[in-house]
Symmetry: D2
Subunit: 331 residues, 4 copies
């Protein structure tokens, strides 16, 4: 049974790096990481600098920022406010690093299907966004200082519209001529604990096959002619991933306590993570049991995270909106 | 063609014609009408053939079909099915008369704001539409005969997206290249009894200022390069219109019964309809009382009509879908 | 044509008083009124002290407080916060005047149909209520000071449940044994400008036939054995009422400007308000045109008012919740 | 009867029986089973006849019917109609066997939280129910033959109302005096493949701790004085259960193919199912990873199953509604 060819697919640079680091046990050439943590919010910055780094992680070269907030599902509104503020600060700095000007016109695209709760993150963010482009178009003299032109659309998914969302976005970009595109998308995670607790910001756009749902054509600078920042949140996980992670936890658990995990877990103990996942998939898939699942409380979790991202974007995109009071601008 | 002198604004050709006919008491040159009625469904076809006819009615030259179903608010599901079937038949004939081919690619655009119930008709129709374009794009060999490529989008309104819906539609048309555009829109009526009981089909597109909400740029053949059929349903009415119509009803009522309406209604009795409406507006507007209103049961009415139109379109656009069983294809 | 027997039905004591005052041109014996106004919020307190007063107004003896906020439909969130705070202050004082203790157990009942937007006010308030009774039941020692036991239910309407909502509430009261019942209900107004801008608080309970929808049995102290405070908001208005009010405005308008309103309005000018309304209804009803209507933006208006009432109740019922910061406790 | 020693908790009698049968490898005394299958719908009837049988399965004595439809998540509307029809037939027979008369008054209670999609099954069923009790109360002479008095309520959950749902139901039962109570509830499953594919009918009522959410007091004949039929559908599953089942599938898989599962799975292979589940929970719970999860498409699945149950109930409860055409009576 040859499992070695199995490629670890993850939408998060963080997970790719962890997975590769674990195997190698050493730093990855061409990949630079930086971690900070503050009151329950862990911020990891990963720069993939070279083609070698990109090949090693299976991710595009670019800048990735990840906010991890394990307690985010705990309905703590203070924590939510702090995450929105932190997100706004990091996003603003990200824009500066990319050289995006304070008055650059922004189009925010909420990808995903509003009828499928775990896939509705993008549309929900757009719904809570402070949209201003029309004021600049219709009465430019009357717009207060500290705002920039922001527009927002939720293009739907292929099964609902019959048109690739990337084609719809391309058409809207050509007509409305933004300087920057921000695309929000729900992702599949490799770990149940990351679902609805992690936010990734990346400057690499949206690539075919990323995320859940039907978005096969990409949204990238090459295609659209403007920079594309992708914001992603894992909202679902494969059953096989839960199983695989759990076996891993059992491995650590029994490894620590008894030194006899070999007896308890058999060959499962000695397989590499990817091989084991492949094994689990091999068993579950033919039985139709490798479903994508989401936590029972998904309605509330998605709404909370959408509010955090919308609040954070409102504060990051408009100087007149204070990062200390971002929550007031969303519903 | 200067329509600016026209006083009474209505989105329905039928109302314009009735209003003008009443004043003139004679046929209107350049306007041809045809009426039929069948089991509670009245179908009126108005062709505006000449610039004179257009000027007289204050409407664009073109073909207009109106279905009036006074009992449509009565929650009678048999009647709803019959209206869907009649709509499908009339729409199919309309396509044939316009020379639209059986395989013409169609984009259905649901205009309006999904957060405002009386303005959500268009988005709701699109939600219930049978969308097929992606099958033709991805696996053209496997599509059963009797279907054509249909796609559907709800572009939102200016206040929500920051972009004119006409710009969004234009971008999508350029990318997805349909042969025909069908635009669904909620209208303001001149009569409370027409609200949610009347459907207008017209081949003239959507013009600036039509309908409710923010749709200032048009969707027309001139702009988009393809024919545009507009489907409109009155879902709201101005308070001033209700008042004006009621005075009219009082006029008929007392006219018939007593011959002394002059005493009862005073000068209101002798004013022409438009003058009287101006008078009412003159009084209500400064007080902020000329609101757009909708019947209390708007949620249910809008859903019912959206189902009728979606069912009718599904049957009219796809030969494989039987007009006798249209309801099965929507939610 | 005898119109004199026509009884003016209104759910608002304020409207009844205004109507009677206008006719009489003098104070009404047994009725005491008090008005104050502050930054766009007008508070009127009407005490109906005697059976004569009750008979004159056609309302039950009791205390009535009305908040009128003409600008409330203007989406001004500062104003909304001030109204919530004012509502909380008035409601708290109302409880004190009625001798309701700080720890009295409260059941809040949201009457109405959640599927019909203008009738969904009650259920929406309950949805945003801070409910605490279960903490007192399950872990009484751990409840922080400053809270009282509050529970909330939305019993639905007869057409949805098959059971009178009053029977459902009676059953719940007998089991859960609150000391006070607060019932929230949507009302029909006699004036379009009061729709979604006026809140009435009264200590008289809910009586058969009040409000819109099916609530024929009452919720009163006689039936339930505990005091019942009713909170009502007009959310709909009859078309006939709009017409009648408009004629009244025209009367004032032309009366002021020309002194010849008799010529303009004919007999309409000399009729008493009730007679005129009766006349209008006589014309509209047989034609099926006397619909209950609501402003086009009803979705947003209802949500805003429900938030105001829920915020206000949360602050008024729990000492630990600050009236200056009530908004934080609702969605 | 002490059930406390029972390790594997499941809400389905079927799962309990399978689990016990597997261990024992023989028939269970006091438990009678009967299975039939027809075009993708498997119907299992389990009668627990004696206290011994009850103790063995850890379930109350009574009649249990389970419909298993593995393909039910496949969006096949023909299959959905057939399941509704089969459900109606089985439910009608169940009523007859219990000696419930054709005119017995029925109260349907939709347990669960309408704000949490996987817990909203009960409220959704009630929303689609044909409610008739009020016609019998208000105009008994005019009700067509073939109908019986049916009412329906969704009492909410403790965290939303502050009152135990059982208390609310008890109060409503005392006031509205039904002869039979039918309670609909979402359950936790022991297998991901049963989520939204299985329906259980049982005559044992609702017992403390069953289902998901807060329903600690029961709904039983002892408490309410009338028979209580429970209809349950598994809509969520614990992550630990997915892991445990997957290990089981791996066990069968490698057992069949290689005979060397001992080497592959180590001690996991030799543990009994319950011991293994305990082991998995022991590892996952302290890490907060034993979440309740639901398939990504939960919105659609729940709506489909709610329609099936509502359609089936409408046909089973009213003779005038044909089991061959049940779908027409729901939305």
């Amino acid at each position: 049974m040859d499992l070695s060819m199995y490629a670890v697919r993850t939408d998060l640079a963080l997970e790719a790096r962890d997975s590769v680091s674990e195997e190698r046990g050493s730093a990855i050439p061409g990949v630079h990481s930086d971690v900070s943590e503050d009151e329950g919010i862990k911020v990891t910055k990963i720069d993939i600098l070279t083609p070698e780094g990109a090949a090693a992680l299976g991710k595009m070269p670019g800048k990735y920022i990840t906010l991890e907030v394990p307690e985010l599902r705990g309905k703590d509104s203070d924590l939510q406010d702090r995450v929105a503020t932190k997100f706004a600060q990091e996003f603003e700095r990200f824009l500066t690093e990319l050289g995006i000007s304070k008055m650059a016109k922004v189009l925010v695209v909420g990808l995903g299907n509003w009828n499928v709760t775990p896939d509705a993150l993008g549309p929900l963010v757009v719904e809570n966004l402070l949209v201003t482009r029309h004021f600049f178009e219709l009465m430019p003299d009357q717009v207060s200082p500290g705002y920039r032109p922001v527009s927002g659309v939720a293009p739907g998914v292929l099964g609902i519209t019959g048109i690739e969302s990337s084609e719809i976005v391309q058409g809207i970009v050509e007509k409305s001529k933004p300087d920057l595109l921000i695309a929000i998308d729900a992702l599949a995670s490799r770990a149940l604990e990351r679902v609805n607790t992690t936010i990734q910001i990346a400057d690499i756009g949206i690539h075919p096959g990323s995320g859940i749902g039907n978005k096969r054509k990409g949204l990238t600078k090459e295609i659209l002619g403007i920079p594309v920042i992708a914001i992603g949140v894992p909202t679902v996980v494969y059953a096989s991933t839960i199983v695989n992670n759990s076996i891993d936890m059992m491995k650590s658990h029994f490894g620590k306590s008894t030194n006899n995990q070999g007896k308890i877990l058999g060959m499962l103990d000695t397989l590499q993570e990817n091989e084991r996942l492949s094994l689990v998939k091999e068993v579950l898939e033919p039985l139709g049991h490798d479903l994508l699942v989401t936590p029972k409380e998904v309605d509330e979790f998605i709404e909370d995270i959408a509010n955090i991202i919308a609040s954070g974007l409102n504060a990051a995109l408009h100087e007149a909106i204070d990062v200390n009071n971002v929550a007031a601008y969303t519903h």
